[in-house]
């Protein structure tokens, strides 16, 4: 089996999945405009040169040995903030900072994504601690509803300041 097999067999996805994800093509144009392509390429080359000279990149998943390069920063020690949970995802949630706490990165009112990594500790409502495993764990098992205020401890965040990798989370008391 090859990656091409997967790509082709994805063509057999159920119609409702295909329809649900459909892009809004009314606003999109798919005309081949070579001059745009060359202008974009020139701009990309400039950005690559600037980026190579000025931006340090860290591999974002050292525990797995391979990954894609995204700019990440790490604090000297973990900081804590309170976030209102807006929407769950399979590996974390999207939320809004309601109390910046002692954190120096995300002010109150900021929208961000909180990602759980391998080893993120989650204090569940029954007092037990779930240690998140990206291969097995499921955020559905945590059970916190949208609107819950969650205390998040983190040390790693992305350079765009839209993403925090939590080391510990619990419902704010």
């Amino acid at each position: 089996m090859t990656n091409k097999n997967i790509y082709r067999e994805l063509g057999g996805l159920d119609p409702d999945l295909i329809a649900k994800a459909a892009p809004d093509v009314a606003q999109k144009k798919s005309v081949n405009k070579p001059w745009i392509k060359w202008a974009s390429l020139a701009a990309c080359l400039c950005l690559m040169v600037v980026g190579a000279l000025t931006i340090p990149y860290l591999q974002n998943e050292p525990s797995h040995g391979q990954g894609i390069m995204v700019p990440l920063n790490t604090l000297p020690q973990a900081e804590t903030m309170s976030i209102e949970l807006v929407e769950w995802d399979w590996n974390g949630f999207r939320g809004i900072v309601v109390d910046a706490g002692d954190n120096s990165i995300f002010p109150a009112g900021d929208e961000l994504e909180v990602h759980f990594d391998d080893g993120t500790e989650i204090l569940l409502d029954d007092g037990t601690v779930m240690v998140f495993n990206t291969r097995e764990s499921d955020t559905n098992a945590i059970g916190w509803k949208e609107g819950t205020i969650v205390a998040v401890k983190f040390a790693t965040y992305d350079e765009d300041r839209t993403l925090a990798f939590a080391s510990y989370v619990e419902v704010k008391k």
Partner: protein, 185 residues
């Protein structure tokens, strides 16, 4: 016009069926084909071939809804042409998408028989359904529609870096899923 009415036109063998399909889904089919072939003229040909194939298959089929039906035809035809013409040299999303999917399974030169094909298709459906809503839609946009990272990020109001991380983790989940299902990875 509602899909059911368009399908009725196909059953009545009225050429208005093609006109109505073009009005409602022409751009949609063109988008799908263009993302694969990265050429406007080729994409237009695929769209015309899509109408022809729909005409040939309806009846006896009665697709409901019609959108994913014609979309799937466009995707299949575009992929066939892509593989026949070795169009990856033109650019576009397919080489990038294939490269990403190779993380789930290396590009061994091993075939897949029809039984495995059906099993893989079923497994992929179950995997995609297991994903949370937003991740599900983003996964389908990237690997079914072959939409670019920048376009998906824009449509979902996400940073490209966040989107790339999300897709990376989802691909890892897919690899684990396929392993558990007994596919050779």
């Amino acid at each position: 016009m509602e899909d059911k009415q368009i399908v009725d036109l196909y059953w009545a063998r009225s050429e208005a069926a093609i006109e109505e399909t073009e009005k409602k889904y022409g751009r949609y089919c063109h988008y799908i084909a263009y993302q694969i072939l990265y050429n406007d003229e080729d994409a237009k040909e695929i769209v015309n071939d899509t109408y022809l194939k729909t005409w040939d298959t309806v009846p006896p089929g009665r697709p409901d809804p019609l959108k994913p039906y014609v979309g799937t035809i466009s995707r299949q035809l575009a992929l066939n042409r892509y593989e026949a013409q070795n169009t990856q040299k033109r650019g576009g999303q397919v080489p990038l998408v294939l490269d990403e999917l190779s993380e789930c399974i290396p590009d061994h030169d091993s075939g897949i028989d029809i039984g495995e094909s059906i099993a893989l298709r079923d497994a992929l459906n179950r995997f995609v359904r297991s994903l949370p809503d937003k991740t599900q839609n983003i996964f389908v946009r990237r690997y079914w529609y072959s939409s670019s990272i920048s376009e998906i990020a824009n449509d979902y109001a996400m940073k490209e870096s966040s989107l790339t991380v999300l897709l990376l983790r989802t691909r890892k989940k897919l690899k684990e899923f396929l392993n558990k299902e007994g596919f050779e990875v």
